[in-house]
Symmetry: D2
């Protein structure tokens, strides 16, 4: 709720064996993926080759209502996207899915991730006369596929070839006139899974919780480097780009994904419980009660309680009705936005030694306010425990973990941070253990934001935060 | 979330010693009281005797934004209301606070509760030439005060007299040109508390969580029958109608109120933990895990776990982005609205004997779906525990606990209900214990909906559900 | 378009012999009456005694769309209103029709006009315990009818009695459970006419253009003082309050009414042509072309041209897309709002001696700008002719012709005004002739705003402009 | 108002010598050009090379308000567009201006007209890997410029080269990082003119009325084939593509343009007066009054009256408040949409022999209704006169004059049409005279829709009406 770290996208695609209200299914799927992006969303429906779409700025149930969903035709194939970032311009040009036409007809693309050679490729295409309508990577991917399509016999072959050119993190869902295609980068940074529909059709989604929401059964995850092609012949796979075990973003387990999702075979909720258990062992403390910061700290708090034997309690109530656009409190009143969203149950913490569990600390401001709330409610001691290691390095693979000067752990030691946020003690999960929280997952992990070591080399063209800027000026 | 039982209102009033953006404070207060009514809301500001208001259908942050709040003037006194019920007509005439003018100038009233002699009084006033603009009790209360005002020297004296005439449940906040007045019916059915502001001013609110949200300090509850008058002379009390200990609605503790509120000195969260503890003793079961139905069953589940020694687990994830106006799933898909709002964490319940705790069962439909979700996720056994007794009788005092033919417990025995919802066993908290969950509260309790015995006699004019009808036809 | 003088209301009622979509008919009727009030509007439908309504701030086609009209039920009787004035508070409490319930059931009232003893009556009712929800006269009328209803056998009898109590200008349409009632004050200040429907039903409307819009046939005007009762027995008339010939507002003919309306048997367009003809005779001038200020000056310009023999020309183009909420031009640009709305056809006026005809001058600012536009386009001379006399006195009978300090003719002589607005000559229609422009009309005229002599005595309680103020403070 | 023939676009560009609120100026300019396109609109502002835009479906004052205008930055250059046609899909992808980035940075284009080789060029670019986001010609123009830009030293040189490739009707306004560029196709089908700003800057607009609205002075029209480049060095012209006198669309004078505009030196109002005069000579009739159909028939009616000596009258009142999205009358009522928008002034036509002047007849339905209105109001005879020749051939140059099966004149003789619409006589302006109505204009004329003879050859790829279809299927 208060975290500054944001996932950049969620994707969803459906292939139904019979024409139906596929837009509604995408709507429910996006709804379940809303936590992956709250700034804009869109749905494209393919009705026998004719693509219709509706996109907009806002939450899924702000952009879509019965009227706008009703205007989208029935069809067999559809695509959806939720997105976090906007460019700052008052334009909607970066909303996804992007819908284009090339030599072979219409194509729609929804993308979760971030390319690390987007600028180079963009320049290359511009030199050939290409025109860009947005600043997003996804248009670069479109050109790479289109370019390859001129020399190959199918869109999946074109994508196979294009994947040799684009580098970075990408979980893609693509729709052509007759096919739904899903693909994941060879490193498998971002999740993408497949489900089956009762009618024999298929769904692909960033997380399994989206399958659950429409009653689809989880089939498997898309493999790193795999291209999955779904059409009237069913599901087929191209594995020529599958050459690695994969290095999944470990912060998906810590924070981004929904606890009820299963990613690469590992339960997200289970991983968070385990993070709490590790934390209890790494940073034990003598205390009366363990409470979590809602919502993302609750699971780890429960794990901490189990492993430590200290009772688990409910310390905070979150206002369920908090909207995104919150009116700022007037000056001179004692209100503050944390207090409006979160209230302490005084009876639970009064006179107690409290272990307070959260998933991460970014700048420290919010953590400081939360510690203060607990203290003002009468806690004797506050011991902060964080279920991931300190952020020390930016992420180049699809999240907004940012340049070093905005990360408190780049500027202070752990004791300094503890003092800064007003905690009696502070303990972070170690980098060794964070990659062990989802051990049953069939993948390696990227923990570059905690270690500065990335699975693939990051080129100089990636001056974190400056990407949009460069394109605009 | 899925419960059909709804509180009908929340009220909030503020008296600041200096003119300021009181509308903003009311906004935050209503925001914290949103759970008490989601259908409409309104704010009235008193700027040196001139009343300005904005009301509308929808949630607080739908009806109000920076622009509409900004148009309300600064002032020293303001009033707000959140409301549940609408009449079915496409009119906004029943939104509150109501703002009227009578012989002594402007008056605004916000009301939580329900009169049991409203029809009789309405008829009496109509015979004298009265005109009504709405079908709400609140307009009847306005006339009773106005009538008394003609014969008394102040609005508080008029209210004191009117309280001899109106009967039933009412927690009122009233604003005149120079005063803020709060009052509670002599039985104290609905909560109402007082807080102090840093500048020496006062706030009154249905629940203490609203005081917390604006940084006000809890002072005390308004007593049953008390009239509290706040003006430039500070706070004064009229206790001539205080003749009973009070019979607070016990379902406020079980379900309506926010867990972080303290009512009559008793923590709502604490009462719910205790309900779970009683329940564990009344209906013990051999099981592997205790899970609660979000959000209202979570506290009792934790209490059950503590008392039983069975581990507490998180079994469900609720979609945080569920709006009120949800688009119904299309026919022929396997989606259903419970599944879209609530997902099971399979890993937690798979192969387990599960104790499932919820606050109440109304018709049984939702409970049946939730039990099915748990079973489909692989639970071996499901033992349903309800932290309140079966509903067997309607409520006439401000909630929509309804006529008998809609309550499952009026039509089935407990074992029949268990079978109906698909649970292996089912246990309800006893009527003896439900009134013990908040024992530190300085009040008696109304548990009429569980027993059919009401603290005051309900007249024949109360043909539950037919009130609106009568007025319209 | 640029005039500051505004009519305050338009009313419309329908009685269909069979239940149908009466709301749609009212919608079209109000649409045709939109020029009489653009601030708010509303429609009430009577479906077998159940009243449903929708009201709002804005134009008819802003407040109503297919959805909101569709939500109103079918019925036999319905009422509508368009209104100009709002109080300045951000409230919608003064929108009409007002819908209330009294001892005999529901009643809705739509009112065009202004009472001159409203404050006195209001006080009288307040002393009996009355409550007011708005500051409008219409609520006072409701009380007068309700009071009389307690002592009479029908709503029309009650209205007949109430008309002895209320004084001023009122054209009323009233709906009870089974009747549609229309009435006009004994002086007949404001228009009100009756039409017949193909199915034998009836319509009443402020102007005949509203009958035309729904295909109703004009029957006759309601007489000054008459009460018309329409129910299943057809149309019946009560004429006990008919004691005068009537003194219709002459400015209805000059400006307020639509040119295609026929009022009291006289064509509005015809009256304006004749005003132009009189003007040509009173203030002849040697010139090359006659042009009118759109839209209200066009008819009089044509009349002037006919009578003078000077050719008629089209000198201005009005932007058809001007909305009500116009964005003000930024400072430093040469745009001004008159220029954006109105453009001169240079070719028509260049090098010419121009007679420019408009209906009235209020403050002189707009007239000055329009004269400047003509001069800048190259006119050699500009001779302004006004088709009504100078405003020298306020109107108390339902328009906003205002207190003397805002009327230029109260502060300057005609030559001074000519100089002020930049015209070579200026001529107003005389007060003698203005009451002769609609001579075929079966009524006398009120020209109080031009003469200061009113048909009925205006009491001291009428401190023009201060009415709202008094109520609020 | 009732005509089915629609112009497809209006364009506006501004170059201010100092950074200012250029978006506001474009807003007023588009406002004056609203009659050229009511379906969508957009504004792009260039703030030192950074392009920001806002576009949307609807009228200028629906899409833009103070808030959305305020979000656009100040700048020196800006571009705007109003558009008529949409594709039928619920997408906004065809709104203009289009804003893209190519190798040399950002470029925005606003286009009025229609290419006749768009499909061929589109195919050519697709074969090189091009991606299209819309189905509009404008994207093809973007590619042609971008392609040429790779081989030329400036955007104006690129445009000069691209004009050798694109064929058809185009009035373009283009914005690059530092320049505002205007261009017209070598045949000069659509208008485009230049104005000067007080600060020495420039404006370009489809019609001179847009210059007037912001206080700019008309400088001259852009020549057929000319490229006008405006930057910090002032205005420069490239005339290498100027090789013809030009063949301006004559229907701009008859109907499309605003009467207050001057195009190619000829007043539109003057041309319409003259059309009426020619008509009076070609088709004289003995009658009592001449009336025009609002708004487009009024000028020609006045010309007819002058030339014939028959008095000019105002026969219709148009409802000023008609919105675009009008609610259809319910079945069974006598309302019809023409009656709601237009009402006859009975007094003017009753018992008269009426000459009724309109600009054109498309299908004949509306004309039939209007003749019926006049007859029902009591006219003795109705003589219809049309100020342009019969439509017998489609337009390929930027209007929606359509395939032959929708044009009544392709299926009936003039006497048959007269009978069909219920007129006593019917006379059209001759094809010989229609090109003489604006004789002072410094251009030839295209009257292909009246003659079937086009200034340039139309290729087979132009299966009128099928363009969108082809792209989508």
């Amino acid at each position: 709720m208060f975290n500054c770290i944001r996932e950049e996208c969620g994707v969803f695609g459906i292939y139904s064996n019979t024409p139906t209200t596929v837009a509604n299914s995408v709507f429910y799927g996006l709804y379940a993926l809303q936590h992956r992006g709250q700034e804009s969303c869109g749905i494209v429906v393919n009705d026998r080759g004719v693509f219709s779409y509706h996109k907009g700025l806002g939450l899924v149930n702000e952009v879509f209502d019965a009227e706008s969903l009703g205007k989208l035709p029935q069809g067999k194939i559809a695509l959806g996207h939720v997105r976090y970032s906007t460019t700052g311009n008052i334009t909607a040009s970066n909303t996804q899915p992007i819908v284009v036409r090339h030599i072979k007809g219409p194509m729609a693309i929804a993308h979760n991730g971030n390319l690390i050679n987007a600028l180079t490729l963009r320049r290359e295409y511009e030199l050939k006369g290409a025109i860009f309508h947005s600043t997003s990577d996804t248009e670069v991917i479109s050109y790479a596929i289109t370019e390859a399509r001129l020399e190959t016999g199918s869109i999946e072959k074109a994508l196979e070839k294009a994947m040799g050119k684009i580098r970075g993190a990408y979980s893609l869902v693509i729709m052509s006139a007759k096919k739904l295609i899903a693909a994941r980068d060879p490193d498998g940074f971002r999740p993408l899974c497949i489900g089956t529909l009762p009618d024999g059709g298929y769904v692909v989604a960033s997380e399994s919780c989206a399958l659950d929401s429409i009653g689809a059964d989880y089939l498997r995850d898309v493999k790193p480097g795999e291209i999955v092609v779904i059409n009237e012949n069913g599901l087929n796979s191209i594995e020529t780009n599958c050459r690695k075990k994969g290095t999944m973003c470990v912060f998906e387990y810590v924070y981004f994904a929904r606890p009820d999702s299963v990613i690469n075979g590992a339960s997200v909720h289970g991983a968070r419980l385990r993070a709490g258990e590790f934390l209890a062992k790494e940073h034990p403390v003598d205390a009366d009660i363990v409470i979590g910061v809602p919502d993302s700290g609750l699971d780890a708090a429960l794990g901490f309680a189990h492993a430590s034997g200290i009772p688990y309690g409910v310390g905070f109530i979150k206002n369920r009705y908090v909207g995104r656009t919150f009116i700022q409190p007037a000056q001179g009143m004692r209100e503050d936005s944390v207090k409006i969203k979160l209230n302490v149950i005084k009876k639970v913490v009064e006179g107690k030694r409290v272990v307070l569990v959260d998933d991460s600390i970014v700048r420290g401001t919010t953590s400081g306010r939360i510690v203060a709330l607990i203290r003002n409610a009468g806690a004797k001691e506050v011991h902060m425990r964080i279920s991931s290691p300190p952020f020390i390095s930016p992420c180049y693979f699809g999240t907004d973990i940012d340049s070093k000067d905005k990360l408190i752990a780049c500027k202070m030691t752990v004791p300094e941070i503890a003092k800064h946020i007003g905690a009696d003690t502070l303990g972070y999960l170690s980098a060794e253990n964070v990659v062990r929280i989802a051990e049953e997952a069939d993948t390696g992990f990227c923990s570059g934001c905690f270690t500065g070591k990335y699975p693939i080399e990051v080129p100089d063209e990636m001056p974190k935060d400056k990407f949009e800027q460069k394109l605009i000026e």
